[in-house]
Symmetry: C2
């Protein structure tokens, strides 16, 4: 794959194989052809999540995917622990409050992330905890939670607690074992590790999560139920975004062919290589900097937004800036999809010419 210019941690650059797949003529979504196609896609999606259970896709952004998953699985007034430490995890807290959950907070400063022991301890103090909402990697800061440790700990202290995960910048980037870790729901989005245009979210559900979905009418767009019940028959509740699904399947085929171990390692090596290089150039990593799918960094005493503009003007590489309270203070670069070590090398070379 060639070196992409777009290196934002979503949307990511889209490879040729995906663009070619999207170019196919649509097939009618109420047809045996569609069902065979979608069934194959869902089977690939199970591999991505390392799950044997229910998976489906939704039309919408990652935010939409996470929020309707949470709303479908958490009843109003339930006790929910939200672990938050950045723009996206705070959004799940805010939406939960609006939905009438009894929200318990475990807040960390942006750039930090709690130790698993602290999460378990906090959870243990809440009686009848119905669900915990975890953001595996916080895209606004680049920090990652030790999801496996947290999940295994929660299962010990609250066996009935649903473990609900924003996996938007981790599923398909770094090791993620949905079934083995005992996750109940994990959401991902097409424009991240799946190297696709934005517009689709994906969801995996455990058996007990699937059973917890309450039937709702056809036009309840803020609910997973219809998506899941149609997915059982490899079908779609609304007009299916067929071409986007073609693109998604092409990426899933590629990931299955190359194999997750190699994909995961590519993310890790891209992150390691970039972090070493950028520090050698005088850069500073932001916060815990333990996430692998993206790196947040800055150059002390220099304006991050100005540096990004210079980089783009000089070399065409597009990075993201900071969000929310970090606006202007950091840059963020992706290690997902085509943003491999070779791409990082080219960015470091570009930075080195004018720093």
């Amino acid at each position: 794959m060639s070196i992409p210019r777009l290196l934002t941690p979503g949307p990511v650059a889209v490879p040729e194989m995906v663009l070619e797949a999207i170019q196919q003529q649509p097939i009618p979504h109420r047809s045996a052809t569609f069902e065979a196609f979608y069934g194959a896609l869902l089977s690939r999606l199970r591999y991505l999540y390392q799950s044997q259970g229910m998976v489906c896709t939704l039309i919408g952004s990652g935010t939409y995917g996470v929020e309707i998953t949470l709303r479908s699985l958490i009843r109003p007034e339930s006790k929910v622990l939200v672990v938050h430490h950045g723009k996206f995890s705070q959004r799940w807290r805010d939406d939960g409050t609006r939905q009438g959950w009894q929200v318990h907070n475990l807040a960390s400063k942006w750039g930090e992330v709690p130790e698993p022991g602290k999460v378990i301890e906090h959870a243990q103090q809440i009686d009848a905890l119905a669900a915990i909402v975890l953001t595996h990697c916080e895209t606004s800061t680049g920090v990652m939670l030790d999801l496996e440790e947290v999940a295994r700990g929660i299962q010990k202290v609250h066996p009935d607690c649903l473990i609900l995960v924003d996996g938007i910048t981790t599923v398909g980037c770094v090791p993620f074992y949905f079934d083995d870790w005992g996750i109940d729901a994990a959401v991902c989005a097409s424009q991240k590790a799946l190297m696709n245009p934005a517009g689709l979210a994906t969801v995996a559900l455990s058996e007990r999560a699937e059973a917890a979905l309450l039937p709702t009418h056809h036009s309840d767009f803020a609910n997973l139920y219809n998506y899941v019940s149609f997915a059982r028959d490899h079908s779609y509740p609304y007009t299916a975004p067929v071409q986007l699904l073609f693109g998604l399947k092409a990426a899933l085929d590629h990931i299955q062919e190359v194999g997750l171990p190699r994909i995961w390692n590519q993310t890790i090596q891209s992150a390691r290589y970039f972090r070493q290089g950028i520090q050698e150039l005088g850069g500073e990593l932001f916060g815990a900097a333990n996430g692998l799918s993206l790196t947040a960094f800055s150059f002390p005493g220099k304006d991050s937004d100005e540096l990004r503009r210079q980089l783009e003007a000089a070399s065409g590489f597009v990075l993201s800036g900071g969000q929310g309270e970090l606006k202007g203070n950091i840059m963020r670069i992706s290690h997902m999809g085509m943003a491999d070590q070779a791409a990082m090398s080219a960015v470091l070379a570009a930075f080195s010419t004018y720093l």
Copy 2:
């Protein structure tokens, strides 16, 4: 443009120019580049609707577009007249009932559609009518309402009544004058006259409809408010489906270049030609058959689903069957996008070989 094989009245075949546009690499959706692009798209969309006012796009199906537009503009307990005569218009009635509107019904048999005078008379008998919901062309039956006459009549008897239109199979196919007819909201979908993959809906709003939107939080996906307020700045409330928007813009550019008069006439001529030809072959048009964007028809004494299978096997042409109560009884063919007179000629030739 070549002759497409996919002739369902949505999704329609996607032309090369759209597929090429979708192939471009994404641009970050929080950028001046995106805003310039989206601003240009919205200006083209105004041309499509023949409106000077607010237009925007949403991620989702046409059903999603219509339902969230109606829900955003109609308050619970308002009196609403729903004119229904098929699967989709009945869906708007059902959703309105769920939303708690005081739904008044003007029902016609599937395949029929009321005269404008009857609609006005019915509306006149309702005090303080807040809104009327009209389905311009009912995709399940192929019949079309005289929208201009109805809209002008309603304005006389209920000047404050919002006129809300499902324009999914008419906007961009047949004459549609949003401003001149005094429409308050009209919804269209990408996989119809816009010749794009499914996944986007478009909405036009009058000034008073725009003013009637109530602010809501960022994560209220069942509401137009955020889409509209971001569209004012040529921006998107969620991760924008950038490639789908690229495709939409390519179609809108084409439509502006060719000009609506020619596009509209192509639909009309395709419908006229096909209807004459299919009747010459012994076919029978279904119901009022006054819609132009699609034709519903059958061959007396023959199984429509079986005929469709034969047609597809013999020639590759894919038509739709009947929906709901019409399942098995009719076939439906599109006159939108690439389904022009030449395509109709090829389908008629294919039918003639085995009828």
